[in-house]
Symmetry: C2
Subunit: 189 residues, 2 copies
DNA sequence: GTCTATACGGAGATAGAC
DNA sequence: GTCTATCTCCGTATAGAC
């Protein structure tokens, strides 16, 4: 791994603590102890606790937004797009599963501008996802079950990957992508 | 609705606030304001903030444990048991979706004995679920895909219902049970 | 059952020495 | 870049009057 800036080290350590206890329950003294320094020293690298949270969440949200835009704008069919969305979630989860805990559970502690920005991105992400499923149903690629339940169920699984993946030992990313595709698209029966 | 004890009213109000901001970010002053009284007055009905959290979580966890035990010990096949588990989650979600937020996100803030008790129940619940799927695969009722992914995916969806269900308007419980079954068992393609 | 007043600790953050 | 010392505010919880 390449040397990281002190700021990035703090953010990474914070993401681990936020995952374990949530943003509100982690103190700057906890974070400082995890870094082996005193709390006051953190402020030479970051402006506030809030800045740490917003960096973690906004970076990840923008990553998902960029990825989704590429997928949605491609001229693939719905099934191929769903596969790419699954791949996107798995890739991000493998790279930053700690940060995803904040994205999922602590976004409501963002402050005004970043909160609005995040909610806008999340909403557009869900709309893109929903549109892909709707078009797939229209074309007959996807079953015409209750569409909202399909969207909810699939997104729930993908969003919760960050909790499950770290507990798996030696699971290969490509195998995970293939099997996740099978389970989500073809069901288990 | 029948008249509730003041303590239960406090617990219900707390569950709503915990769902919105998480246990650690909700103060006793927030809770008192939601109840229309002063923070000190809460302590005539509850012993501590921690007691509120553990009541919410342990009651729900015991409900799931009881339900799962009945299902696991019945002489149904795996598919029927899965249907019953889905029904269990939907029933609990309809009745107490606020409390499920704490169960899912704030269990780590339980204190020693209740934390251990909760973790034991959660572990046994997952093991029961896993056993049902394993036996279903053995008997050929369930596909022999990656079993861990099937268990994870299904549980993720059921556990996240509390977030999705309140946003749906006028969805009938029986239709939800039927459609959820279809999506989880038969996939979407 | 609710109030006011208050105790006490710990929160985020800053100033300034080294 | 990290430290010690410290500020101010707000957290949970208690005492005792009404």
């Amino acid at each position: 791994m390449r040397p990281e800036s002190r700021k990035q080290e703090i953010i990474n350590a914070a993401a681990i603590l936020f995952k374990e206890k949530g943003y509100s329950a982690v103190t700057m003294r906890d974070l400082a102890k995890a870094m082996g320094i005193k709390a006051a020293s953190l402020y030479n690298h970051i402006q506030s606790k809030q800045e740490i949270l917003s960096t973690i969440i906004i970076d990840l949200a923008e990553e998902f937004t960029t990825g989704m835009n590429q997928i949605a704008n491609s001229d693939q069919n719905a099934i191929q797009k769903l596969q790419n969305i699954i791949n996107l979630h798995i890739d991000v989860t493998l790279r930053n599963s700690d940060g995803l805990a904040s994205l999922n559970n602590d976004w409501m502690h963002l402050e005004e501008e970043n909160l609005q920005y995040f909610e806008k991105m999340r909403h557009e992400y869900e709309e893109s996802f929903r549109n892909i499923v709707y078009k797939g149903v229209d074309k007959g690629d996807i079953k015409s079950y209750n569409i909202e339940i399909m969207v909810f169920s699939t997104l729930s699984t993908l969003r919760t990957l960050y909790l499950w993946y770290p507990k798996q030992k030696n699971i290969d990313a490509d195998i995970l992508k293939r099997d996740m595709m099978s389970v989500l698209l073809k069901g288990i029966v």
